[in-house]
């Protein structure tokens, strides 16, 4: 077998092995791309909430169109249909039936649940005060609703329980179901069985809602109505579809454009095919390495392939164009070291990302690094064998000679460019505090329209945002509940002083066994209760004989079995408890969401108020932004480290400060001008623009190195110059395609590196060392 055949066979085998690995890889497009790989305890809570938490399982469903009666009918019908589906844990639409079970539970167990129940309350004086309050309450229209309960609940325990629940505003109702604030939509709140991180499960649930709505609309004949769905699950599903769609679209655009350029240059399908071998190898190797290293490949990583294609194709362009005139041996000796150095600077740039705690970034780094390295190795060692000596292509020297003419005039632009770069530096320095977007949401692929709809629907339902959380952890459920009760007692003081508007706690509906026992023990025996009641009622306008139901209920409460989680089954309170009381590998955690008062919650003040409590305070939004800022700081350090590595590599290879300076100057100026330009164009700069800055240097070093080589050796020949232009064009196409993306991560890199690469070539030409202009 010929050497070309053997090499091809080896290459094919490697590709097949790679394809097999890719075939078995797991691809994901969920938010774990953004979640920290080494979370702090606070961040862990955040991550758990995002992946598994109840908020991540909630979908808001709205019905629009028709009149309010029709929407209400549809809302009821849809609820019944969804309740029959296994995909949903709960479906609420404000129907009275849904809340009756809750009221029954609260009323039946009021003497075990009410924080008002204590020995003092059941003394004569305590009874007198509590019953007196209940009677006073009858003066108010709000209290009149409790009038019929007075004989059974004269101490107002149910009122006590319900007023705890009224922390947040209730959704509006019309025709017996929830409606939006303005009344133009019927609202439902659906909790999926699938966790928020289970995008397939979320997609199935959302499809089930859509199907059931369509069926319901069909059955009721209300065709003028439409369905709106929103929530984290929908965001995940939409983002995945978006990324999937973009990966295909961007790769296609990038490939077609680059193939077009190569066909124009090579005028040969054979050379085109050969030239694409390193690219295909690199793209495949990137996915294989990421899959083997991480187990899961992010969709965004694959989307980065569009840029990789543009970068990896450069090596074969250099090879074909430069070896065409000079032969293989001369290419290896004269040009390969420069190409190799360019590859190594790219590796330094991408390699710096490997150390990021931001998993998405680390994966992008590993993917690009392995892709570029593979493409270069295939170009150097496999391509020459497979291509054979027949690599003669169209002579690019005429193009090169034209370029040389242009090049001759370029150094005249040095001072204007330096002036421009200086202006860019001044702009960046003077506005350095407003350059970077401080929020992780800048990376969020969810569209503005979707976010706005989500906000509107949540406002309609008056659902409180999960902004602040206290987390108490313990080895077992009972201890976790006891600690939650202790913390709740401290929070009560903050609510009383107005620092907090309200809070929630699982112990509210499921008190610890200890608290239940204490409450039960404070209920007096029948004869004793009658005696105290007699005393208490002496100066109240309520006759003793009317309180028969009260005596019976207290006697009954003394016999009631202790409440446990099963007792709550069938009520929506069970969901609340499940949401707030979490079982995990190391034990139990109770979550206490806090609603701030007039002022936002100050972490320091709250911790002081909680004293020795071990409760962990988490400001979700703050934690997100802290997470992002950590990423940003880390990315700055990594970019700097990557840059230093590139400088060191170039310094060691070039062994001349002057040459090093000449190579770096155009690259640094290109970065300055691009970033200032983006800022002036109103682009919100974030972490990925920063990474883009590093990549400009890493990817564009080749151009400066070729000019440097030309300066130190016999000058830049026309075909080398042409090869640089073409390689630059393909790189700019590859990265530029990413700029078309609506996924912020990809867009930012594209919009930075695409123009950056072109500018770097131009500036390298402008700042080419004197004396070697020709």
């Amino acid at each position: 077998m010929s050497q070309a055949g053997r090499t091809f066979l080896l290459w094919l085998l490697a590709m097949l092995a790679g394809a097999a690995i890719v075939w078995n890889s797991r691809f994901t497009a969920d938010m774990s791309f953004f979640l920290p790989s080494h979370p702090t305890p606070e961040q862990q809570v955040l991550v758990d909430q995002l992946k598994e938490g109840v908020v991540s399982r909630l979908l808001v469903v709205a019905i629009e169109g028709g009149d309010s009666r029709q929407r209400a009918a549809l809302s009821r019908d849809l609820r019944q249909r969804l309740l029959d589906q296994p995909a949903f844990v709960s479906v609420q639409n404000g129907e009275a039936g849904g809340q009756q079970a809750d009221r029954d539970y609260l009323f039946k167990y009021r003497y075990l649940l009410s924080p008002g129940v204590s020995a003092e309350r059941f003394s004569s004086a305590g009874l007198r005060a509590a019953i007196g309050d209940s009677i006073d309450r009858l003066a108010s229209p709000a209290g009149m609703m409790l009038k019929t309960l007075l004989p059974a609940d004269p101490t107002g325990e149910l009122f006590e329980l319900l007023s705890q629940l009224n922390g947040g505003a209730q959704p509006n109702s019309s025709n017996g179901v929830w409606v939006s604030r303005a009344g133009e939509r019927a609202m439902l709140l659906v909790q999926t069985r699938a966790a928020g991180a289970d995008t397939d499960g979320q997609e199935a649930a959302i499809n089930a809602i859509r199907q059931q709505f369509a069926a319901s609309r069909q059955a009721t004949g209300l065709h003028a109505t439409q369905l709106l769905v929103s929530g984290p699950g929908l965001f995940a599903v939409n983002s995945r579809a978006l990324i999937k769609d973009e990966v295909g679209r961007l790769s296609l655009i990038s490939s077609l454009a680059i193939i077009g350029v190569l066909l124009f240059v090579y005028r040969s399908f054979r050379l085109l095919t050969l030239g694409l071998l390193p690219v295909v190898s690199g793209a495949l190797a990137g996915v294989v390495v990421v899959s083997l290293a991480y187990g899961t490949v992010f969709g965004i990583t694959v989307g980065f392939g569009a840029a990789l294609i543009g970068e990896a194709v450069d090596y074969s362009i250099y090879y074909f164009v430069q070896s065409g005139n000079n032969g293989l041996a001369a290419w290896r000796q004269r040009f390969w070291p420069t190409v190799r150095l360019g590859v190594l600077t790219s590796v330094c740039g991408f390699g710096a990302l490997l150390f990021s705690g931001f998993p998405g970034l680390a994966q992008l780094g590993l993917y690009s690094l392995s892709g570029v390295l593979t493409a270069a190795i295939v170009t150097r060692f496999a391509l020459p064998h497979m291509a054979g000596p027949e690599t003669r292509m169209r002579d690019l020297a005429p193009l090169g000679r034209q370029l040389q003419k242009i090049l001759g005039a370029m150094p005249g632009l040095r001072w204007p460019v330096l002036g421009l770069a200086l202006a860019a530096a001044v702009i960046l320095f003077s506005q350095r505090n407003m350059l970077w977007s401080p929020e992780l949401s800048a990376l969020n692929p969810v569209s503005q329209a979707d976010q706005a709809l989500d906000q509107a629907l949540h406002a309609d339902l008056a659902t409180p945002d999960a902004g602040y959380l206290l987390v108490v952890s313990a080895a077992d459920r009972e201890t976790a509940l006891q600690q939650a009760e202790k913390t709740a007692a401290q929070l009560d003081r903050l609510v009383a002083s107005g620092e907090l508007a309200s809070y929630a706690s699982p112990s509210r509906f499921l008190p610890s066994q200890a608290t239940q026992a204490a409450r039960r023990a404070s209920l007096p025996q029948d004869a004793e209760l009658r005696r105290r009641l007699h005393e208490a009622l002496s100066d109240l306008p309520l006759a003793e004989q009317k309180l028969g139901p009260f005596l019976a209920d207290v006697a009954n409460a003394r016999q009631l079995p202790a409440l446990d989680r099963q007792t709550l089954d069938g009520t929506s309170l069970a969901l609340a408890v499940d949401a707030l009381l979490l079982h995990h590998a190391t034990g139990w955690s109770a979550l206490l969401p806090l609603q701030p008062g007039e002022q936002p919650i100050a972490a320091a003040g709250l911790r002081a108020a909680l004293g020795s409590s071990s409760a962990l305070f988490i400001d979700m939004k703050g934690e997100f932004n802290k997470l992002y800022n950590d990423y940003l700081h880390e990315a700055m350090l990594l970019s700097l480290a990557g840059f230093v590595a590139i400088v060191a590599l170039l310094g060691v290879t070039l062994r001349s400060l002057r040459r090093l300076g000449a190579v770096l100057l155009p690259l640094v100026l290109a970065v300055l001008i691009v970033i200032a330009g983006l800022h002036l164009l109103g682009e919100r700069l974030h972490l990925l623009h920063l990474i883009g800055m590093l990549l400009i240097v890493a990817v564009s070093s080749n151009y400066a190195l070729f000019f440097d080589q030309a300066g130190s050796q016999q000058g830049l020949d026309p075909s080398t110059l042409a090869s640089m232009l073409i390689a630059n064009l393909t790189t700019a196409i590859g990265f530029g395609t990413l700029a078309l993306s609506t996924v912020p991560v990809l867009h930012a890199v594209g919009v930075t590196v695409g123009p950056g690469a072109i500018l770097a070539l131009l500036l390298s030409a402008i700042f080419v060392p004197r004396g070697s202009d020709r």
Binding site: I135, L138, A139, S140, P141, K147, N166, P541, A543
Partner: protein, 189 residues
């Protein structure tokens, strides 16, 4: 003598249409001229369960046509505010607001007060049959719910007053309990 008697009778007969002219329409016109004001109130709720009525006192402020504030001072402070269709209740740090446009029954109940205060006959007749007795100086307007949903809550509302001032509102609830709200204008406009 007979002549005099006849003329007196004639006078009476002539006067009758004038007396009869005090009908719902005229009362509504009078009430509509009232642009608002403050009144002290005493409300007594007679509840079958209790031996004595529950008494609350406070101040009511009305600003035509759709703002009403009932500020209870005893036994427990409470503020009930009605601004157009938004009803809010503040009591012991708790704040509750209800949009009445979504609660037809509550709206009908509120309209009995608001419609009377503002002299809005159409709003009153939407949910109640009106019956007026007395004269402009001392009138009694009885509202009987025409809708079953409302009569399940309240059987009868009796508003009495003098000229364009309301002096008392009595609610007779379906369960037999009743409440009587007496008003004493403090700064009539």
């Amino acid at each position: 003598m007979i002549k005099q008697l006849c003329s007196a009778l004639l006078l009476c007969l002539l006067a009758l249409p004038a007396l009869a002219a005090f009908d719902v329409g005229q009362l509504m016109d009078d009430l509509a001229k009232h642009k608002g004001g403050k009144a002290k109130f005493v409300e007594k709720k007679y509840i079958a369960l209790l031996d004595k009525p529950v008494v609350s006192t406070g101040e009511m402020t009305y600003t035509a046509p759709d703002q009403l504030e009932k500020r209870t001072l005893t036994p427990k402070p409470e503020i009930l505010r009605l601004d157009k269709d938004l009803l809010s209740i503040e009591r012991e740090k708790q704040k509750l607001s209800i949009n009445l446009s979504n609660q037809p029954e509550a709206l009908a109940f509120i309209d009995s007060i608001r419609g009377t205060l503002s002299g809005n006959r159409a709003a009153l007749e939407k949910n109640y049959l009106l019956h007026l007795s007395g004269n402009a100086d001392k009138w009694v307007l009885t509202l009987l719910p025409s809708d079953q949903k409302i009569s399940a809550l309240v059987l009868r509302i009796v508003v009495s007053g003098s000229k364009n001032q309301i002096r008392s509102i009595e609610y007779l609830q379906a369960d037999g309990d009743r409440s009587l709200l007496s008003l004493e204008p403090s700064e009539p406009k």
